[in-house]
């Protein structure tokens, strides 16, 4: 039995591929449709291994879970089906998660895009690209630190949402980058004409 307030991880390996990079494994729920409902997925690494996280939906009591892989010729290989039950409450205590089929542009929404941030803490570089912008480095650092604080507070997890912040004038040196590869670079710039709208 699974619990709806825990994150589960599907791991495995696709064998027999000469080059596994660029291929994906999907974890699906056999819901009676031909293809099944995709719950999560992961890209294979160079060894053919995958590791996909998944949070059960408390609104759904049972899942018939299987892993499936499609090669470049359209051949599909699927694992056996695992029958699981879900209990407990959703991890999002004040929210209800549902799956919608249609994009409703009349309802307030925001777009989410895939960003691979999968380590804690993220290395963040705040770079002033000119002498004038140097004075704003503390301002940008404070904005990001404040966002970190809000995420810690709202998630109830003060140990997470960490940023390792490095500040530079100009570009960071290569040794610093090698030791702490940047995940996000925030560049403060004065030069150039700012066209409407100035914040993207």
């Amino acid at each position: 039995m699974l619990h709806a307030d825990k994150v589960y991880e599907f791991t495995g390996m696709v064998q027999g591929l000469e080059n596994s990079e660029g291929y994906y494994v999907e974890i699906r729920d056999d819901d009676g449709s031909e293809a099944g409902d995709t719950l999560t997925y992961d890209e294979l690494d160079s060894q053919g291994k995958f590791s996909a996280g998944w949070l059960p939906d408390s609104q759904q009591q049972t899942y018939n879970i299987f892993a499936t892989f499609e090669d470049e010729f359209g051949n599909r290989i699927s694992s056996q089906i695992f029958y699981v039950n879900v209990s407990g409450q959703s991890v999002l205590s004040n929210e209800t998660l549902m799956v919608e089929d249609v994009l409703d542009e009349n309802t307030p929404f925001m777009a989410l895009v895939h960003n691979n941030r999968n380590k804690d803490a993220l290395n963040l570089y705040v770079e002033a690209k000119d002498a004038y912008s140097r004075m704003y480095i503390p301002t940008a650092v404070k904005a990001i630190s404040d966002l970190s604080d809000v995420l810690k507070q709202k998630s109830g997890n003060p140990a997470a949402w960490n940023f390792r912040i490095f500040t530079t004038v100009g570009s960071p040196n290569s040794i610093q980058i090698l030791k702490n590869p940047p995940n996000v670079r925030v560049q403060l710039k004065h030069e150039g004409v700012v066209e409407f709208p100035y914040h993207g």
């Binding site: 004040n94 960003n115 940008a140 997470a160 925030v186």
Partner: protein, 132 residues
């Protein structure tokens, strides 16, 4: 997986043009706005005071993603809205950026269905469209 760990995004924040130079508050808000983008959130089609309202080019025209009268009006307390924060937590989970991150998707839309329910703290439910 190493490529994923080192995945990098660059966010640009303008500190001034000719004229004028930006106020400190502008740089603060724009830094947070751009950094939220770097974490994976797009602009919000939402109400006044949302941290990531902006203007966006669609079909050759710039349109505001929030009420035109509310453009560039960020929260008085300089915090992202609950909608913004909940969307980030939904994407990454309560453990933050540490793997696994079950909500990471190639592209989807998070909806704010009800902003008016008393006691909801401006956020009662989201739904996800996974068709994108």
């Amino acid at each position: 997986m190493r490529e994923l760990l080192n995945f990098r995004t660059t966010a640009e924040v303008y500190t001034g043009c000719n004229p004028p130079n930006m106020k400190t508050l502008d740089v603060y808000q724009t830094s947070m706005h751009e950094f939220i983008h770097a974490l994976g959130l797009g602009h919000t089609w939402n109400g006044k005071g949302d941290m990531i309202c902006s203007a966006q080019q669609m079909e050759g025209q710039w349109i505001y993603t929030c009420d035109e009268n509310a453009r560039d009006v960020y929260p008085d307390d300089n915090r992202p809205t609950n909608f913004n924060v909940d969307a980030i937590i939904h994407m990454y989970g309560k453990d933050g950026f540490a793997a696994p991150n079950p909500g990471l998707v190639e592209h989807c839309f998070a909806y704010l269905n009800d902003m008016t329910t008393p006691g909801s703290n401006n956020f009662t439910s989201t739904s996800l469209d996974r068709t994108g």
